[in-house]
């Protein structure tokens, strides 16, 4: 028997996005095991600094992507930075989506004044440029990993709120929700068990996009010196360090910069592909 399936053909965008993110996650987890030298190995700085990609330094160590201004292996530092970037990206996006799902569910289900207030708040928050707001939040605390995650999470909930609210409002009217109420289920149970699952797919798309944005923002803040602080490697502070050597050793800044761009593109294509698949299913 042949199953009739429409719109389920494999989307190249989804494949690409998943492949990039999976490779990166694997690299970040395995770390030095795949890259050779350790991320913090210094050795003889003068002899090893700014070695070009695919070159061997005096001590015979092969540096796949070359070394930075302290003679540290670039590939190893990129993978160590990937841990930071992926952790910040996923945690901040999950925090933002968590807030968004909560606010969207409350607004969509409660309606009336509660809904109005949340909608006005969401629209107002959407009109505030995100980076200046992040600067403000980061400025008030000591720059570091935690405040970076919290600040990015607190400034990214609006798209999810809108999507979830719209979905909840649409589903709320359906018969099975009324049936659940008639059976005596409390509102909270109805929302969590019967309404929210319908909003899961659009929320997932928004979260995929959110991970890319969060990674881009973390790298941006760290690039400005306001995110993850050296010596902890982050793609952003690696770009900042490489910027000083742009003429002598362009690869030091280019490698992390291209990696950020690749990951952001992967997340955005993944989101595009998932969205198209969702649209096709409807």
């Amino acid at each position: 028997m042949r199953a009739v399936r429409t719109g389920s053909h494999r989307d190249a965008r989804v494949t690409f996005g998943v492949a990039v993110l999976a490779l990166l996650a694997a690299g970040a987890l395995l770390g030095p095991a795949v890259s050779g030298p350790g991320a913090a190995d210094l050795g003889d700085i003068v002899a090893r600094r700014f070695a070009g990609p695919l070159s061997r330094t005096g001590d015979g160590v092969l540096h796949l992507l070359g070394t930075d201004n302290f003679g540290r292996d670039l590939a190893a530092r990129l993978l160590a930075g990937a841990r930071v970037s992926l952790a910040v990206g996923v945690l901040a996006a999950l925090a933002a989506s968590g807030i968004g799902v909560l606010l969207g569910a409350v607004a969509g289900y409660a309606g009336r004044t509660t809904d109005r207030v949340i909608v006005v708040l969401t629209d107002a928050a959407l009109a505030i440029p995100r980076v200046p707001l992040l600067l403000l939040l980061v400025a008030l605390f000591q720059p570091g990993l935690l405040i970076t995650i919290v600040a990015i999470g607190l400034t990214g909930w609006m798209p999810v709120t809108r999507l979830v609210r719209a979905e909840v409002r649409a589903v709320r009217q359906r018969l099975f929700v009324e049936a659940a109420h008639a059976l005596g289920a409390p509102s909270s149970l109805v929302v969590v068990r019967h309404v929210l699952p319908h909003a899961a797919a659009p929320a997932l798309v928004a979260t995929a996009l959110g991970v890319g944005n969060a990674i881009m923002l973390e790298a941006g803040l760290s690039f400005l010196g306001l995110g993850v602080q050296p010596p902890t490697p982050s793609w952003g502070n690696m770009i900042a360090a490489g910027r000083d050597a742009l003429v002598v050793a362009p690869w030091v800044a280019l490698a992390p910069a291209l990696l950020v761009a690749l990951v952001v593109l992967a997340c955005s294509l993944l989101a595009d592909g998932l969205e198209a698949r969702l649209a096709g299913e409807r």
Binding site: V120, A127, L136, L246, A257, L265
Partner: protein, 330 residues
Amino acid sequence: MATALLRRLLAAGPTVLLVLTVTFAALHLAPGDPVRLYLGPDADQGAAAAMRHQLGLDRPAALQYVEWLGRFAVGDWGESIAQRRPVTAVLADALAPTVTLVGLSLLLTWLAGISIGALQAARARSRLDTTLTGVTSALQAVPSYVLALGLVLVFAYGAALWHWPAWLRLPALGAESIGSGFLSPWQRLADRMRHLVLPVTTLALIGAGGAARYVRASTLEALRQPSVRAARARGLTEFRVLFRHALRNALIPVITLAGLQLPALFSGVVFVETIFGWPGMGRVAVQAVLARDYPVVMAATAAFAVLVVVGNLLADALAALADPRLRTAR
């Protein structure tokens, strides 16, 4: 139309109020004492208490909040700790460079975005269309600081290295050359334009990626309308159908979209101004954060939000001019 705009103006209120509330709350919730920061850790208790009283920091938070809103409304935004001059003066100096940068970027964004999007819609599903979709998706995803550094590498360092003609070697720092005060007015203008090229290109390329994708979708949608079929049936050329009938309808929502993209554009401005040493509000904000100059950071954040609100109002007014249906208030 006036009522519609007035309604929009009232709707903008919550945005500004939210920014002011967040800045106020953040400053009060954050660890650290602004008085200690201002006077230094060694200042004596009496002086600190006197200053706290003078600044009104010993009064209830609710009262301070209302006062903070009032002071903002009348334009008293405090004094910069690092520069020892009014915050409004610091921001006023930075406003014109930022508005120039953003205005030119928007202009180029939509010129390029509309051209590319319309071309793609006219040649939908061709190889050119697919290629351009790839390019615009990539442009939309590339972080501004990455593109900015890439352009610096090519046009500032690469151009010298590969012996490109002089006009292609572009300055990558500041708003004018050192000693440009000695140039003639025309040379000075040319010098300023050259300094604008890289920062404007960075922002415009990223914006054009998103703009083209939107215009393509919007034009394809317009081409499916019955009016377009009617125009074709009347024997109009495909060129005329595209430009007079499809694109015109497709572009009206684009004006509103340009307004909605402003927050993202101002986020990019922060990075681009920092990288190119452009003396605008984004660089002022970053330097103020690094110097822990809280009044400037707070005011800059609020000013960015106000600029977005003003930009959105302008976009609404333009959309109403372009589309008679929008002139009647909903």
